[in-house]
């Protein structure tokens, strides 16, 4: 139970979002640094890495395994040296990154990039030293980016394989579907902050306990999880999607050929699925729907082709049911 634990923190540093947020970046960082110090304080051997997600790029801000070289020559007698090093390294790197004149503040921040870097870092440490219970904490202020769905899902699967717990906190803005799913699928905790005045207390009670302690002292869990997925064709978040029965790719409308695995679907299935779609969606998307490209085939060949199945994803209920079973 009393093992050292590793924490990688992914910070969303999107300037545009922080500008809108009622909590200033400065006060956020001040509380975050105390939280990071608390993690280091828990145990002498606890390790920490901090990654920053900036518009269009992600950087490693601090890693306890690679302490920054430019340490101040004289240390402060009133401060524990590792805290001092961590705090000055993180603040210096963040201001250095944000003052970059080439930074395009409107581009959404590269959370997935930072998440992937964090996973790679954990993988490297696990191979070298054998980490126990590594964790990633994502603190985000940006809304979901629907074209990040596939990379996020891939990161979640690698996290599951590495046995990494992903915790997520949405500090500003609407609930994010993807981070909720990331936390749920890796056994982590998701927190949507509506009240930013006691951020530090939220961080400490929700994200500080390592997984072994969570068996004794509980952390907030989600009672409602938004399981909606983004379609592969238009990157929209869909309530009802159509799933390729071969490769499980998700589409917002029936397609004759799966764009991922190139499976062709019989025309009859397409017609049936189109007929069964809710009227509002089908009429709205009618014009945008690509026309079937495949030429009519003989019945004999068509029978070999697997039918496409419609997947209904119920929002919030926590279950996803495939309406039509696959046909082969």
């Amino acid at each position: 139970m009393d093992n050292s634990s590793h924490l990688s923190v992914v910070l969303d540093l999107s300037p545009a979002q922080w500008y809108q947020s009622p909590l200033s970046l400065d006060s956020f960082l001040a509380q975050l640094l105390v939280f990071l110090n608390a993690h280091i304080a828990l145990k002498h051997d606890n390790s920490l890495a901090v990654f920053g997600a900036l518009p269009d790029k992600s950087v490693m801000l601090y890693a306890s395994s690679e302490p920054p070289m430019d340490t101040p020559a004289t240390s402060d007698p009133n401060c524990y040296p590792p805290f001092k090093r961590l705090d000055s390294a993180v603040t210096a790197r963040i201001s250095e990154q944000l003052e970059d004149p080439l930074l395009d503040v409107t581009t959404p921040s590269a959370i997935v990039g930072a998440l992937t870097k964090a996973l790679c870092y954990i993988n490297r440490l696990s191979v070298a030293t054998g980490l126990v219970d590594p964790r990633i904490l994502i603190l985000s202020v940006s809304p979901d980016l629907s074209n990040a769905y596939i990379p996020i899902m891939n990161s979640i699967f690698s996290a599951q394989k590495l046995k990494v717990t992903i915790d997520a906190g949405q500090i500003y803005g609407p609930d994010t579907v993807f981070l909720q799913q990331a936390a749920h699928l890796t056994g982590g905790s998701y927190l949507h902050l509506t009240e930013t005045s006691a951020l530090l207390q939220y961080l400490i009670m929700t994200f500080l306990p390592p997984p072994s302690i969570r068996k004794v002292i509980a952390v907030p869990t989600q009672d409602k999880i938004d399981f909606r997925a983004a379609c592969f064709c238009h990157k929209n978040i869909v309530d009802i999607g159509f799933v390729c029965s071969v490769c499980l790719s998700i589409f917002c409308q029936p397609t004759p050929v799966c764009s991922t695995c190139r499976t062709k679907f019989p025309i009859k299935t397409l017609q049936r699925l189109n007929a069964s779609r809710p009227l509002t969606i089908s009429s709205a998307n009618n014009s945008a729907r690509p026309t079937p490209v495949s030429t009519p085939r003989s019945a004999a060949t068509a029978a070999r082709h697997p039918p496409m199945s419609a997947e209904s994803i119920q929002n919030g209920s926590g279950t996803s049911a495939v309406a039509n079973g696959s046909g082969h």
Binding site: A41, P77, P81, Q201, V216
Partner: protein
Amino acid sequence: MPSVQLNSHSENAEKKHIEHALLPFLQSQSQNTLTRLYQRPSSCLSLFRLLEPVERQIIMSLLWLESAIPQSTMNTWVNREGRKLYDEAIATLGRLNILPTNLTNKLALNTTFKMSFRQALTGGGTSGSFGVPAENDDKSPAQDLESLDSFALERWETILHYMVSSGTEQQPTKPSQGVLYLLQRSGLMSTFQGVLRITSAGFQFLLHSPHDQLWDLLLQYLHLAEERQMDLVEVLGFIFMLSTMELGKEYSTENLSGTQKAMLEDLRDYGLIWQRKPTSRRFSPTRLATTLTSASPPLPTSSGNSSGPQEGFIILETNYRVYAYTDNPLQTAVLNLFVSLKYRFPNLVVGSITRESVRKALANGITADQIISYLMSHAHPQMRKNNPLLPVTVQDQIRLWELERNRLKSQEGYLYTAFASQADYEFVLHYAKELDVVLWENASRRCFFGTLGGHANIKGFIERRAMGSNQ
């Protein structure tokens, strides 16, 4: 299968949580002393690290709250399975005066502890409790890590080596007078015919991990400090401060109190700090000091040996042979406690575990579990591929040798004989059995053996019976 049972038993023993040796000592201190100790941020941080994980999380959860919260609110966070652990944690914190128990049904941290620990996490303040660094001096640059390590190792091994070879013909280097006094006071060594000799507690001490040994000695030092009328808060505060210092940095002695300056000499003897000269106004903590509150090894790997003590150096085979890849005289001497050594090579010692060698160790007060745990913690990396780590036959045999010593058990009592008739005998025996004081009985000889405590009752019973039959 006895072996299976024995193994599961030892695994359970390992999993059982062991409280840090310092905590019972702190719990016995007065609230006033503890509150004064908590005035220093570094003490709070170091003490915090010695606590159990659940206790640490409780402190963290309560740290930034301004007002007390009802116990029922905190209870809603606790899972049902974790209830017992949580209650224990709250009780421990109460005894340490971190969670004062004077509030009914409310939880709030000790105000002093809260202020200092907040300061430790955020930095700032003027306490200087993390050590005032010395000004850089170009003439005498700070000692490099290697020489600090070798200094600490040399000091520490001198103490252990002196202990292990006392009573033999060897004449190892004597540690300083202060160390000898401490060893004697702590009961690890005692004077026997005018010569200091190691006691059975001392033998057990030798098989502990360096980390436990260090805390054992420091705890004894604290007891000694109490008797010497030294201010305990100053002593503990200094030890805690050392544990938060940086290895390889020099610190100034100017801000230390008189007590703490006096401690410098003692701690130098134990190898916790290094000073250029006894009068020097700067000191550097060694690895022994900076790892006091961590799980990392307090001693560097010994020189000239690729597989040092931390990685393990002992290979134990199923035929009771022991191969120890070491050239360290201390390790050889410790092994000699329970292994009969056969050959010595420049980097290898070969011996075997025999009934005689283990019995000699047992006679010295070492237990079978201690031998096994020493072999486990110092097993060679090659051995770590085995599951179980040590050959089961050897483990069982060592335990059986220990059981062998416990074949005879003596108990004081009374033997009741010469009963007049079989009925008499059975009547008294029945009475004694009801009292549950019979240790042994022999019906054919009409005698039985009762415990010391039951004698008065049985005697009275027989007398009453004799009087009754006379009438």
